[in-house]
Symmetry: C2
Subunit: 162 residues, 2 copies
Amino acid sequence: MADLSLPIAPTLPLDLAGLQNLIGFQLRMAQVAMHREFAAAMAEVALTEKQYAALHLIHANPGASQADIAVILGTDRATMMALVDRLDQRELVERRRSNNDRRRQELHLTAAGKALLANAERILAEHEAQFASMFSERELKALMAALARFHGQDEIMPTNLR
Amino acid sequence: MADLSLPIAPTLPLDLAGLQNLIGFQLRMAQVAMHREFAAAMAEVALTEKQYAALHLIHANPGASQADIAVILGTDRATMMALVDRLDQRELVERRRSNNDRRRQELHLTAAGKALLANAERILAEHEAQFASMFSERELKALMAALARFHGQDEIMPTNLR
DNA sequence: CCCATATCGTATGATAAGCATACAATCGGC
DNA sequence: GCCGATTGTATGCTTATCATACGATATGGG
C-alpha cells in the first residue's frame, strides 16, 4: 500500500518504443559492446580499433601512404593525419618521403611498432574468438556476409573525396 | 612499358591481410557506412544517432531521467549530461525536478522537440527502409538476432529499479 | 531519529574521432 | 609550361567517451 499515492509511475522499465527494431540501433549497440571489450582487452597496448587497423595495414603494406590507409578505413586525410600523428609520437610508425612521388609519405612500422603489433595481434585473436564463439560457423558466415553488404567493399569512399 | 621502372608497387591494391575476416572490422565498417547515411539524411534536423534515440525514448517515456536513458543507450551519466545539455540548449527537451525524488530531473519533450522528432521519425523510416531493402526478411531477422546477441540485453533495467 | 551508503545530477579535463576548409608542394596530362 | 588533381598539412568546430570528484538527496539499518 505504499506507492498507490503516486499519480504517475515514477520509472518503470522504459518503453523502447520500437528502437530495438531499428537496424541502426542494433548495429550501434553491438558495436558499442564490442568496442568496450576491445578497449579493455587492448588496455595494455593502448590501441584503438582504428589505430590497430592502421598498424595492421601498414605492416602488411610497407610504404603505403596515409591516403591509402584512410580510404580502406573509410575515413579522410585530415582524420588520418591525426591518427598517424599519434602513432608517430609513440614512435610506432615512421614517415618517409617517397622518392617516386615526393608528395607522399610512405609509412613503415618501427621495431617498437612491430613488437607492439605482435602483442596486439595475440590479444585480438582472443577478443575475436570470444565473440565468434557466440555463433555457429554458419551463423557467423551469414553475419559477416550481411555486414559486408552495408559497405560496398569494392568501392569505399570517404566523404570529402568527390 | 610505363611503370616497369618502379621498384615497388606505388599504390592502390592494398593487402587487407585478413582484416576483412575480423568481426570487429566488419561491424565497424558497417556502422560507419550506416552512420554516414544517417548523418546525411538527418542533416535537416541536425540529430546524431544518440540524440535521436534519446528524443525517441523521452517521447515514449515522459519523465524518464537522464540515468534511465543513459543505461538503455549504453553510456554513462557524464556523457548523457552533455548530450541532454545540447538538446536542452536547442530547447528540444525540458528538465523538471521530480517531486518524488528531488535528485532526479524528469525529461520531457518541448513542442519544438516533438515537432522535430516527428520529422526525424519520417526521415529515419526511409533511412532504415533503404538498408532493410538490402536483405530478405529472413536475412534481416537473422541479422537483427545476431546483432542483439552482442549486447545480450534482453531486459534493460533502469538503475533505479536495480 | 541519526547515520552510513548509494544514487543522481553536475562539473571538469583529457583523449579520440570526424568533418569542413584552406593552402603549399608536387605530379600528370595536354 | 600550364592546369587540374592529389597529398600532406594545419586549423577549428563538434560530438562522444571516460575518469574523477562533489553536493544534494534518498534509503535503510540501528
